[in-house]
Symmetry: D2
Subunit: 354 residues, 4 copies
């Protein structure tokens, strides 16, 4: 028995990824595709400017777009909603859905910093899911991280036990992260734009929160300094990041290499439909990872694009540095939300409401 679900903002670029990734999902069945009033009433195929290189899944073709009406969504039978709403719209809609008993797995930033809302990247911080018990609504809100943060915390995961205290990261972010129409071509062709509104602030705050510890139903931030510089590059898909991690004592290269090579999904996450066996693929090629060639690691089907890739690991004094790539539209957006829902379902909290 699949759980019926809604996709909010289903016509946007992240919404399209939800529509694609949920095609044939074993646990969730999209029955509501909600978008702005402008699209409401049209068939999905009429309303969407489909940008993915595959066809619109056939299940979605037959669905008519509904508006963003929480009451209607809640009464439709949808037990959960995947939210790809723009930040300014997401806040009240998601709150109202939770109030009406619908669980929300959101890619939007609106509730990420709410004290009882986890920013969940399961391989890294699955215990944070527990803080949802502080939410007073029958439905709960679970967020995934910003796309650039998601990759970073996956790459930092294997290093946590070595006790770093500084992270300096510079990003090379794909245009797909800006939605559609997003970045104007005249601004990015043959260019790099060293500014993505509010991205650096998110990356700093979210990274420290995700790496923090859940205590007494709240999250205590990780104490590391995080310095982030974010830029847009003329790449379609895949956020590359140059990461330097500082330790109080000089780390040992071989130990770090082994830590990356041995890194696996924790038991609580392993086997979930969208969970890659190895959340981080380590490459020793001299010139990888590259967005065009390494953005689809993690496995086949729903797992493709769910693993980050780390390469060019080096140690210098008190620093380790490496390049990291993650798929911003899959792992850093729709796929991350879906994995969160799979974890919540396994935990019993989501399914148990019936």
């Amino acid at each position: 028995m699949k759980l019926e679900c809604a996709i909010l903002g289903a016509t946007g670029t992240v919404g399209q990824r939800f529509v694609q990734l949920l095609d044939g999902h074993p646990d969730f069945e999209p029955t509501v595709l909600a978008a702005s009033e402008r699209s409401a009433g049209k068939l999905y195929t009429e309303a969407v400017k489909w940008l993915l290189p595959c066809s619109v899944p056939s299940y979605a073709e037959k669905i008519g777009i509904s508006g963003l009406d929480p009451a209607a969504i809640a009464s439709s039978g949808a037990r959960l909603a995947f939210s790809a709403l723009p930040a300014n719209v997401a806040g009240p809609v998601e709150t109202e859905l939770a109030r009406r008993g619908v669980w929300v797995f959101s890619n939007a930033a609106a509730h990420r910093m709410d004290p009882h809302v986890p920013i969940l990247v399961p391989e890294v911080n699955h215990p944070h899911l527990g803080i949802i018990s502080g939410q007073r609504t029958p439905g709960k809100i679970v967020t995934n991280a910003n796309c650039s943060t998601t990759g970073l915390v996956l790459g930092l995961g294997p290093l946590r036990r070595f006790g770093f205290d500084r992270v300096v990261v510079a990003t090379y972010q794909a245009v797909s992260g800006a939605g559609y129409p997003g970045v104007a071509s005249i601004d990015i062709l043959g260019n790099v734009v060293p500014h993505i509104p509010r991205e650096e602030e998110k990356m700093v705050a979210e990274t420290r929160r995700i790496l923090g510890s859940a205590k007494g139903g709240l999250i205590a931030d990780h104490p590391a300094e995080v310095i982030a510089s974010c830029a847009r590059v003329p790449v379609d898909n895949g956020h590359l990041e140059a990461v330097a991690v500082g330790f109080p004592e000089a780390p040992d290269y071989d130990e770090l290499l082994r830590a990356f090579a041995a890194y696996e999904s924790p038991r609580e996450v392993r086997g979930l439909c969208s969970a890659p066996d190895k959340p981080v693929v380590l490459t020793t090629a001299p010139d990888r990872p590259q967005p065009k060639r390494d953005a689809w690691l993690g496995g086949e089907g729903n797992r493709a694009g769910m693993a980050a890739c780390v390469g060019r690991l080096q140690v210098s004094g008190g620093w380790a540095k490496f390049y990291l790539l993650s798929n911003n539209t899959v792992r850093g957006a729709a796929g991350g939300s879906i994995l969160n829902a799979e974890l919540a379902l396994r935990n019993g909290s989501l399914g148990g409401r019936a």
Copy 2:
């Protein structure tokens, strides 16, 4: 009276910049255009695949290519040579030229780490020119820095007096830095390649050396830790860098801003033909500098492209961070060498040999 000069490697991409920038130069007149045996004997216009968006300067059209024969160059009347040779060829040719009394201003890495050869970025370390007195040859070798290092040290110049001890930099480097044919299009279209052979090592070593102090005819490296991650992006011209600079004590944003805004060429450099009035242009626009739009700062004519641009300055804890852009083919290559020669000429050492 202009000094006659040779351009070594005149048909390559950096060589072409030398040919262009020396057109009408008040002090130096190219009379020898030297290249590999394959080109020798042809007219310059026959031998070169001209890649600049202007025409071949008319003076160069009439010059026949000569081979890389130090004896012939030295006896031609050329008092100095600008070297755009590939690293593996540059070493012995430059040494032999110096032995025969020709000064060499080199963009090649071959001699940069020789103890009596300065890596000169005049606005930052003009006193280093003095160490050439340790060279035993009648001609002297002066190098400029690697293209990515040049921008970095210009950007660090205004911050030196605040006593930083860590520099973490990630680069977004243009394909023109790889020469011609350089990077294959299939490797870089819609992609980022996080590897430029030996670039990171150069950036670390050269930065510490350029920022070091000249004592007793030798250079003592600057003690700061330098961590560099270098990547190639699909941009034609202009190296962008995300720079994070760590200080023992938290810096004051306004002080740093004033330091950048007030930064000027030192007296010893000011007024040189290729010296920009302000070596670093500070921008407060939210999304600059950008390679496509800010690579030609510094002034008109021979000064265009000689200034770096710094933007998005921010302070966070013990760190200052900013984006920095410099023109890799002008300031980071040919233009840098020419400025070095202008400084040597003003100093009397170069011209005084006559």
Copy 3:
């Protein structure tokens, strides 16, 4: 004594070109910068997102944006207006300005097909200017062609006397032709989009009209069949066109080559400030013209970018074929309008109204 002029749509991409190209113009002095109500009241520098790689000309910095009010513009002292308005806005505003005695030199398509409005590309059809006498208003409207048409008719100019009867053209058009924000980066990075709304229709109709003959105050279209296929490519500036021209009898290659080489501006146009000496630059290089390298031919300053470039001329049976490049934002837009105004001024009609 310069004539005061207005620039309509001064903040858009073509408007910016007008602002730049009219800086220091010997005949015209922009005193009114008009834009939509959203910008009105702001200083130009506050209202514009300046996209050109030079600075905003200093004269424009001090000008406050006015709204698109024909009465106010007409009473401001402006004797002519350069229109960079979007098609849907241009029609009534331009008509009303003409009614109030202001001459309009328009880059917009709104009036191009009016029977008494010429589509003027002076080197090709300067006699068409005469049909403005059929306009009943004290001011007159003169249009330039669509950007892709302008290049084509320049390239066809030298061939007209050989009597072609078919023209098949496929375009490779730069993104700057779409204005700002224009084409979404995700649509064009690493892609070609074979559709530009209404472009092919314009190219066919305008080409036949411009090449037509003015008789009795009206234009009789040129009888050649014109087949146009228009596509957008990931290029910043410069429209490339693959042109095949069919003749009833097989043309002679050498004759065509000589016709291109000898092609010059007619006496009526020669010496105008923006008129290139040679409207078409012929190249025999095997791989030119290229947008990145040949978009700025025609001369220095205001003439740069005013010449088209033709290369790879070949003859096969009854066909001549060649590649043609023209600068779409200069020759194909703002520069074309300015040249038209210069011609009207020389003709006496424009200046004579005072």
Copy 4:
């Protein structure tokens, strides 16, 4: 029982496609991977710079590279060879293999114009396979067309019965067509290069030959005039073509549309492993086909990328025009050769030799 086969030039870009597409092929099993002496002796994974976004197929990892020695290949047990050799090497190697009884399915141009060698695009000219009986060697050579020709003749297939007499085509060709390293990035980033050596001549000659008729063991060229203009664009994969087809009498739009919509593989070809059900996919979207979005039509697995896509069909006077896309590395190269071998096998000639 699969036939053993060799892949010649297995490390190049087309060779890699052969390696990938033959993974799991029901009829052919690569047992010899041959390349230049430089690679011979190494394992395939050591010798290849793998550029495809998937992994090297596991079967290929274990194979050691052999040199281009026809005797050794013939005695290895390989019954056929797929040739991705550069033109200058292919000629004698392919001839010698055929002499020794190995069938050669070649992507190289060397033998395309030999009188008894077909240029085979099965859906369009499968009867041409018959002319191989004129080859005197025990093995036979069968070529596929140049990548840009392949797409064109597929698109012209449905129109043949309407009797066109002129074809004017302009191409927008992907950089993958130039092999590796191929086009230098500085030449193509933000640019179009209107020259591909010998491409236009091939396109003209091959198109007329493929569309011609086999009579008496020889091919009589199709009489249509073909005018081709070929340019390289900054696209990874997929050749787009603007095609104008002239008819003696004005064609009817609806008839042409129906002809495209109804076009199917002929009975002789249908069901072959690599044959798409519909060799041409017709799209009525206003802005398609696009290389980035439509290069993988034709089916799943080995059929993906085997269908061309036609869009924007229009009729004007005696002309039909449309845009056409085909996958140059699959349909226009390795996939085309494989389909040819499948046809030869079904015909009995290839398999029958055993």
